[in-house]
């Protein structure tokens, strides 16, 4: 983005990157009609996962990210599943899925524990006691090994979708 001024830099983190194994986790996975506890490894056992951490549902970056991912439909012509994660509740996820007209499921992690384990915590200025994941994208294979990683370095920041597309092409 060129705004004519510097946007806020985010602190560097020690998040996992290409070649690392991501921590497995279990959280409620929400679809347009139900939610249930599912682990990342359970999903990945089927096919590679594009795991997308995003700001709380309703924030404009989440809207932009999901519109773009929905339109690019990486899962349509690749052996891949696209899955989101935010701190929003399952009820909010159902609304998000409905409003964005997307066919992807989203993990609900209100206590932000997954972001803590991935070292991608974004403590939100002006919202005391609330933290959420930094926007981030991890493409992981069946063994949860990262094939591609992107983590926001400024606020706001958006995935490089063409780069994600290249990574997806290579699996």
């Amino acid at each position: 983005m060129d705004l004519g001024f510097d946007v806020v830099d985010l602190p560097e983190t020690d998040h996992p990157t290409e070649g690392d194994e991501v921590p497995d986790f279990t959280r409620p996975l929400v679809t347009d009609e139900q939610w249930e506890d599912v682990s990342l490894s359970q999903l990945a056992a089927d096919r590679p996962v594009l795991l997308v951490f995003h700001p709380m549902d309703g924030a404009f970056p989440s809207t932009y990210i999901w519109n773009e991912l929905r339109d690019r439909a990486f899962d349509a012509d690749h052996d891949l599943q696209v899955v989101g994660l935010s701190i929003s509740s399952p009820y909010e996820h159902m609304s998000l899925i409905d409003e964005r007209g997307m066919e992807y499921a989203v993990f609900s992690d209100p206590q932000n524990g997954v972001a803590e384990r991935y070292d991608i915590v974004n403590d939100l200025d002006g919202m005391t006691g609330v933290s959420e994941p930094l926007p981030a994208v991890f493409l992981v294979d069946e063994e949860l090994t990262i094939q591609y990683a992107w983590v926001a370095e400024e606020w706001p920041d958006f995935p490089d979708y063409d780069e994600v597309a290249e990574a997806v092409d290579s699996i």
Partner: protein, 90 residues
């Protein structure tokens, strides 16, 4: 018990958060120490198509017991079924 995953638990419970009829079934599942996997559904009755596809009705609770092949709605029926299938007397 609610930690069980879809793969490991023979019983799937379709439930609504804070629904007393669903909690009644949970209490019975816990009483018999049964592994079950929870699927939470929409509060809005008319949106619960996932339950209707499984049980023929949009009501919760509903259970699917892969062990016995039983699918059932209505908490009183479910409790009675669990007593018969898993109670100590048989």
């Amino acid at each position: 018990m609610s930690e069980a995953t879809e793969e490991t638990a023979p019983i799937t419970l379709y439930r609504l958060q804070a629904c007393p009829f669903c909690e009644r079934v949970v209490r019975k599942l816990d009483e018999y120490d049964l592994d079950y996997h929870s699927r939470f559904v929409e509060p809005m009755h008319s949106d619960r198509d996932v339950v209707k596809r499984v049980s023929g009705s949009r009501t919760v609770p509903a259970i699917v017991d892969d062990e016995t092949g039983v699918t059932m709605s209505e908490s009183a029926n479910i409790v009675e079924y669990l007593d018969k299938a898993y109670g100590g007397d048989n």
